[in-house]
């Protein structure tokens, strides 16, 4: 039913943390995610590779936690680019941001 979310991963998370906790967890992620994208954009402007990499790393990790596999893969690609010490990212942040919007609406529906 949900195109962005791998339901096996999501249900495992729900089981592990308790069904009553999942809404709070989703809110925390969705509150945090835009600031991670902002951090990446700021880091890009200042060519702060470390800060960029860390933000991408967090996005990758959090997306994977909820089963948002496409988002996680896009963040992972950005993290790898930063590890290569160059920040040539084209429109990848924009694409990731769009994926995030779809993930957000899917997750909100699962609360």
């Amino acid at each position: 039913m949900s195109s962005q979310i791998d339901m096996n991963t999501f249900n495992d998370l729900k089981d592990a943390t308790g069904a009553d906790f999942i809404s709070e967890l989703i809110d925390t992620f969705l509150d945090d995610a835009p600031s991670l994208i902002q951090q990446m954009q700021d880091a890009l402007a200042k060519t702060d590779v470390d800060s960029f990499r860390r933000a991408a790393h967090s996005m990758k990790s959090n997306a994977a936690t909820f089963g948002a596999m496409e988002l996680s893969a896009q963040a992972k690609e950005l993290e790898s680019i930063a590890r290569g010490n160059n920040l040539v990212v084209g429109n990848k942040i924009q694409v990731m941001n769009e994926t995030l919007s779809r993930v957000a609406s899917d997750l909100n529906a699962l609360k």
Binding site: D12, A16, G18, S61
Partner: protein, 344 residues
């Protein structure tokens, strides 16, 4: 909700809020008490002050990364025994392997699977519990250093040749002393006496490995090797006799009779190892050197000196020790006379 058999105090160190929430909540669901730290620096501070049973430590963190926190903990004798499970992304396995090689207890990849989390955490806690028990057990007959060494290298029921010093001590005419007083008083006296002797032995790096009645046997230089095991053993003996003087003064003040002891030390090659079963084992030393040490202790009654050592021990002492050469003695069961020395 499944509650683990023993609730433990856990610390989750992760700079990522979602990770912190997921891990701490999952562990609470498994019945543990959980605290969190937002970065490596805060984590290390909490580890130092919090007496945790287990730490879950993220690798990639600002300020101080997980690798640095792990290193700091392993370097600290007081923190070394706290198991640390590294948590990392799947693609950081190289870093994880490095951490496990360095001394991390285990690792978990994020996102963490609840079943794996429970299994790894419980296994680590169980291992820690067993190690704590072993440590307690070892401390009853060994120094903290020896206990740590045994825990680090494990102990196998197998022997090897070691170079060490063996000490025997015994209370003179203890039977007569025991017959003249109340049994509870006798046990009390023995306990106080042994506490002092153990202290002197442990303080010099020795390990008491046998106690029979009012006598004990201690080994210096094994299982932990010290180049100066002879000097350490003799220093322990001197300290014991000094402590005994103080103890006797206390007994005098209570109107009780004095204790006299004999101390014998011999050094050399011997076979050492744990004998017994995995459930109950003692560290034993076997060989001529051990027999000689026992004979020297008995000989204190004949030589009328409280503290005798053999030539090998004598030759390992620095110049500032004063000993008196008592010449050769032929002990029962030996073909060759042995040169003995009284420590003054």
């Amino acid at each position: 909700m499944v509650i683990a058999s023993e609730p433990a105090r856990l610390l989750v160190v992760d700079d990522n809020k979602v990770n912190r929430m997921v891990l701490s909540r999952s562990l609470e669901q498994q019945g543990h008490k959980v605290e969190t730290a937002n970065d490596g620096k805060e984590g290390l501070e909490k580890i130092r002050t919090g007496s945790f049973d287990l730490v879950l430590l993220d690798i990639e963190m600002p300020e101080m990364n997980g690798f640095e926190v792990l290193e700091a903990c392993l370097k600290d004798v007081g923190l070394r025994q706290i198991p640390i499970i590294m948590t990392s992304a799947m693609d950081e396995l190289d870093a994880v392997v490095k951490c496990v090689e360095l001394g991390a207890e285990d690792y978990l990849t994020k996102p963490v699977n609840a079943i794996l989390l429970r299994a790894r955490v419980n296994a680590s806690l169980e291992k820690k519990r067993l190690r704590d028990e072993q440590r307690k057990l070892f401390r009853t007959f060994a120094t903290e250093e020896v206990a740590e060494e045994l825990l680090r290298d494990g102990f196998s029921l197998g022997g090897k040749y070691v170079n060490a010093s063996i000490m025997f001590t015994d209370i003179r005419s203890f039977t007569t002393l025991a017959e003249s007083q109340d049994p509870s008083e006798t046990i009390d006296l023995l306990n106080n006496y042994f506490a002092l002797m153990f202290d002197a032995i442990n303080h010099n790096g020795g390990a008491v490995n046998q106690m029979v009645g009012d006598g004990l046997m201690a080994v210096f230089g094994a299982p932990k090797f010290y180049e100066n095991h002879r000097e350490r053993a003799v220093r322990a003996g001197i300290e014991m006799l000094k402590q005994l003087k103080v103890f006797n003064a206390q007994l005098s003040a209570q109107g009780k009779s004095h204790i006299q002891i004999g101390v014998g030390i011999a050094s050399g090659k011997m076979i050492a190892g744990y004998t017994g079963t995995q459930a109950r084992a003692i560290y034993t030393c076997i060989g001529d050197t051990v027999n000689l040490a026992s004979r020297m202790e008995s000989h204190t009654k004949i030589a009328l000196r409280p503290f005798l050592i053999d030539e090998d021990t004598r030759n390992g002492l620095p110049a500032d020790f004063t000993v008196e050469d008592l010449g050769p003695v032929l002990f029962r069961g030996k073909n060759q006379p042995v040169n003995i020395f009284a420590v003054l």
